[in-house]
């Protein structure tokens, strides 16, 4: 008996402070549009730098030059290139005003938003706040403002973050990433079967989504 195909599930591991995650998000969205079928996206937490203090005193240049020992000129050149690549997908990165911070609370907020059906909106708002608008995304009060902007209850968001209500969900995502062997982000798991690492070109995402749909259709025929 034929059955209507369900949406193809895409699980995405990502961090709010990952420049390639935002660029990869845009490329994935472009690829999904090229694919044209139904896609269900769920974001998962990945902490690139869990030891970063919430109130690191400096921007990305300061962070990389201090923490990685890279010459400032080299960091600036690297960020200039990333900014150019971001521009190509319509994103205006402003690394000069980025507030380098710990993102665990932002990840908790994403899980809170997921519980309210607004995870995708929250993800986009957080990435834009961090890379484009220079907002702080590590402090509860700042995060709650962003949550309220997309329609979440501000007081409820504050209470959830203060109580660490979704910390276990963040850690579960990180553990699942380790189980998959994920070492970098963004990382896309398509239909629980294919793994796609990095900010691939849109066509690569379209191809793997089409492959997943073809296999689904073959199963339906059988």
């Amino acid at each position: 008996m034929l059955r209507v195909s369900e949406a193809i599930k895409v699980d995405i591991w990502s961090d709010v402070q990952c420049p390639w995650c935002y660029i990869g998000k845009r490329k994935f969205e472009d690829g999904a549009a090229q694919f044209g079928g139904d896609v269900e996206v769920e974001y998962h937490s990945f902490e690139l730098s869990p030891d970063t203090p919430v109130d690191f005193d400096g921007n990305t240049v300061d962070y990389l030059s201090q923490r990685k020992g890279m010459p400032v000129a080299q960091v600036e050149e690297m960020l200039e290139r990333v900014t150019g690549i971001a521009k190509d997908v319509g994103l205006d990165y402003d690394f000069e005003h980025v507030h380098q911070t710990n993102t665990v609370k932002a990840h908790e907020l994403l899980h809170f938003a997921k519980s309210k059906g607004l995870q995708l909106e929250m993800k986009e708002r957080l990435l834009k706040a961090y890379f484009v608008e220079g907002h702080h995304v590590g402090r509860i009060e700042d995060l709650a403002d962003l949550a309220a902007e997309i329609g979440l209850d501000r007081a409820e968001a504050v209470a959830a973050l203060e109580a660490n209500s979704y910390l276990a969900d963040v850690k579960a995502d990180v553990a699942q990433a380790q189980a998959y062997g994920i070492q970098g982000v963004p990382f896309f798991v398509i239909d629980g079967k294919y793994g796609v690492s990095g900010a691939q070109e849109a066509a690569a995402f379209a191809n793997v989504l089409e492959q997943a749909r073809t296999e689904r259709d073959a199963e339906v025929v059988q």
Partner: protein, 58 residues
């Protein structure tokens, strides 16, 4: 589409050199920084090997 060796239940596809962030650093492909401060993951190396095998380059 490149199909690589299954990694923990996943088939890794796509360009293994696509830009990504590992640890607390995000390398820029094609620059000195991409090789100076990051180490390719075993998965990525395997993907490259498989791609070459697919293309009969080795």
């Amino acid at each position: 589409m490149t199909l690589a060796t299954p990694v923990n239940g996943l088939l890794i596809v796509g360009d293994p050199a696509a830009a990504a962030c590992e640890g607390d650093f995000c390398a820029v492909p094609g620059t000195a920084t991409s090789t100076a401060v990051t180490t390719p993951s075993p998965r990525s190396e395997q993907a490259v090997v498989n791609e070459r095998l697919d293309a009969d380059l080795v």
